[in-house]
Symmetry: C2
Subunit: 267 residues, 2 copies
């Protein structure tokens, strides 16, 4: 028996299967978000590439922006709950989780017992989210996945003075036409996202350890810039983009055992 | 002798010449903003299309986003001052000026004596500015100047739930692909701008009469939507896009006579 968690984001869909001990058995990520067949494709890939039998699935839990539209789930859980749960299992010393999603960003407090405390969220403004990076990589004619490598080549970051995605886009176009080097612009873009996200996290207050989750945590440039802004070393979960789906799978496993013991008590 | 005012905006440049009585002798507007030859082109057009002789120009005053880069001006004045001055001359009963610019929006209080009181401004976020309309018209494959006519054809406005320009752009693309009618989407876009601008104006407080200035005031859809949001009838200056340049020209004229009388007193 295994437990499946799916995280249907705005830009990507992720699936993770765990066993009764909560260990990851298989996972898959597809760069297609809500409103597409991304989640179906992620689940199919997971089963195709593993020895797991879908018939042994005891529970399916959905999280992420598109979770309500996935009718195959047994239940849905918020991203806040799933990211906190996932991090709690993977990195138990973490007290602050920063998640930069495809179109939002959030900071979540977890107490010593793993309970979720306060959280702050920006889902109204594209600045400081994955969407900002997408818009900018389009202008730079690069893929979002290349931004981390480009950042590593920066010599003198070009600072972006406009926070607004729309105005920053024009600013990047101007800097490009003036001959600025792409890696230097990329470093400036990362700085801009880091400033925005740090502002959000500081509203919550930073308590160490601090983890960065979500697909954006694969970008070493963002990690660098955010560590500079926050002046703390970030913990990065292994496969950070899977944190939400992993948390969802764990919540499914927990629910399964709770229901099992409840029905055992009723007998 | 005449006095020239130029308004160098982000998306358009305007020039107005007035006589000693402050009456408009000639004007020109060019859809090219700061960083281009827009202002030179506007000034050349003004002289080419009028009987005025540049040699008779007694004073040149620059305003707008790009005013500091125009070295031919005798002096520069802020947009706030020039819009207030222009409206004071054109519509003396106005107490609140709302200006929607190419990349900002503002609301300005004028007292009974024409003095500028408080003002509020948004120049950080593209939502609620001309830039929002530009982004949306690109998506709709229309010209900004057509939005007013399209709005008039709307049957059932499609409400846009995202305030952020970037997210609203995606929303408009979705509505288009779902088959929504362009005029209905345009009406929703105008509603979105009006909501944002009304929020700004209400922070200042609305005191009647209320005028709308700037090129966006040529768009009847925006006027309609903003009147609905504010629940007041708006006064629209004749050629509202020239208000800033006109105010600048008047300020040049005032300065000229002040200097003249000062030098007369010194003799
Ligand atoms: S600042 Fe820019 S990115 Fe943020 S909400 Fe406004 S338009 Fe969107």
């Amino acid at each position: 028996v295994h437990f499946l968690g799916v995280d249907i984001g705005s830009a990507a869909s992720k699936a993770v299967a765990v066993n009764e001990e909560g260990e990851i058995l298989a996972s898959a990520a597809v760069q297609l978000g809500t409103g597409t067949k991304g989640v179906q494709s992620a689940v199919e890939t997971l089963y195709a590439e593993s020895a797991l039998d879908p018939a042994d699935r005891a529970m399916t839990v959905a999280t992420g922006y598109g979770r309500m539209k996935y009718t195959e789930a047994d239940f849905q859980m918020s991203e806040i709950t799933c990211h906190a749960k996932g991090i709690r299992k993977l990195l138990p010393t973490v007290r602050t989780v920063i998640d930069i999603g495809g179109q939002d960003s959030k900071a979540i407090r977890i107490d010593e017992n793993g309970a979720i405390g306060q959280f702050v969220m920006n889902d109204k403004c594209a600045a400081g989210t994955g969407r900002f990076l997408e818009v900018m990589s389009r202008v730079l004619d690069a893929d979002v996945s290349q931004l981390g490598e480009l950042d590593a080549l920066a010599k003198a970051p070009v600072s972006i003075s406009n926070t607004c995605t729309v105005f920053a886009e024009s600013e990047v176009i101007s800097r490009l036409s003036e001959g600025a080097m792409i890696p230097d612009i990329v470093a400036g873009i990362h700085q801009s996202v880091a400033k925005r996200v740090a502002g959000l996290a500081l509203r919550l207050g930073i308590e160490e350890d601090v983890a960065l989750t979500g697909g954006v945590a694969l970008n070493r440039g963002i990690i660098r810039a955010l560590e500079e802004e926050l002046k703390v070393k970030l913990k990065i979960a292994p496969q950070p983009q899977l944190t939400g789906a992993y948390g969802a799978a764990i919540l499914g496993r927990d629910r399964y055992f709770k229901e099992l013991s409840a029905s055992a008590n009723n007998e």
